[in-house]
């Protein structure tokens, strides 16, 4: 019961803060709401039995991705460009219609589908994850390292061109 309570409260916090980020005026406020949403997501990961990815969610998303975004916000300092809030014109209503149709589909799907009750939550610790990661999925880890190296080279190259011009 306690698990359910924490789960629903955390889900509500995550959804509300993501929704607030959608309607935020300043990018910095949007970033703050995004941080709240991601920390709530870390709690959800923990509740779903993944302490390792919960820690990684905090250190990677909140620690690295959000710092990158905030860094870029300070670089792109531009006082209040037009159209911060989604305006109610033709370009607003068509995507909104598509989103509402998607929302109705999701509601219909979950209202009519069968409810699957799991026995209980089992904590899957870092050891099990690491054994799979460096045993069965070793090749993909290497491929990811290659991808990160490619991203590093691309970023360095692009930012060097900025300095020259």
């Amino acid at each position: 019961m306690l698990w359910n309570g924490i789960f629903y409260v955390t889900s509500a916090i995550m959804l509300i803060s993501a929704l607030s980020a959608l309607f935020a005026r300043q990018p910095m406020y949007g970033g703050l709401y995004l941080v709240t949403s991601m920390v709530a997501m870390a709690v959800l990961y923990y509740l779903l039995g993944g302490p390792f990815i919960s820690a990684l969610q905090v250190s990677l998303y909140v620690g690295a991705v959000l710092v990158l975004l905030v860094f870029m916000m300070t670089m792109l300092h531009r006082p209040a460009p037009r159209g911060y809030v989604p305006r109610m014109n033709r370009r607003f209503w068509w995507p909104m219609l598509l989103l509402l149709v998607l929302l109705a589909e999701i509601a219909a799907l979950f209202a009519t589908g069968p409810q699957t009750v799991l026995p209980e939550i089992v904590s899957i610790g870092p050891k099990a994850v690491a054994e799979e990661l460096f045993g069965h999925y070793l090749l993909i880890v290497e491929a990811t390292a290659l991808l990160l190296l490619a991203a590093l080279v691309a970023v360095l190259y692009l930012s060097r061109k900025v300095e020259e011009s």
Partner: protein, 109 residues
């Protein structure tokens, strides 16, 4: 534990991220929307890992985080380049590749 509320939360979060991509015009908010959508996908993967009580879901989340980091770094440098060269922060204003006379009409909103 009931499995559906987790999936429903992930679906709603994905929808919010999609709304951020579709409705906002600033590049930074579009990138944030993509992050939110990645988060929703990760939540689905973690829930699926718990469904089968296996560590593969967590491994998928791990790769998802890594790839998100790489994607965001490159995307942010491109945003910065667009700001430096074109002095724009909105998506609709980046239209220097557009063939204006053929399309006709005004290029952006």
């Amino acid at each position: 534990m009931v499995y559906e509320p987790t999936l429903m939360t992930a679906a709603l979060l994905f929808l919010i991220g999609l709304a951020m991509v579709l409705l906002r015009r600033e590049v930074l908010f579009v990138l944030m929307g993509i992050e939110v959508m990645f988060n929703a996908a990760g939540l689905t993967a973690a829930a699926a890992g718990q469904y089968w009580q296996d560590s593969v879901g967590q491994i998928l989340v791990l790769f998802l985080m890594t790839i998100t980091g790489a994607e965001l770094a490159v995307a942010l440098v491109l945003v910065y380049l667009a700001f430096r060269r074109l002095k724009v922060t909105e998506l609709a204003e980046i239209h220097s590749l557009q063939d204006a006379p053929l399309l006709g009409g005004e290029p952006g909103p």
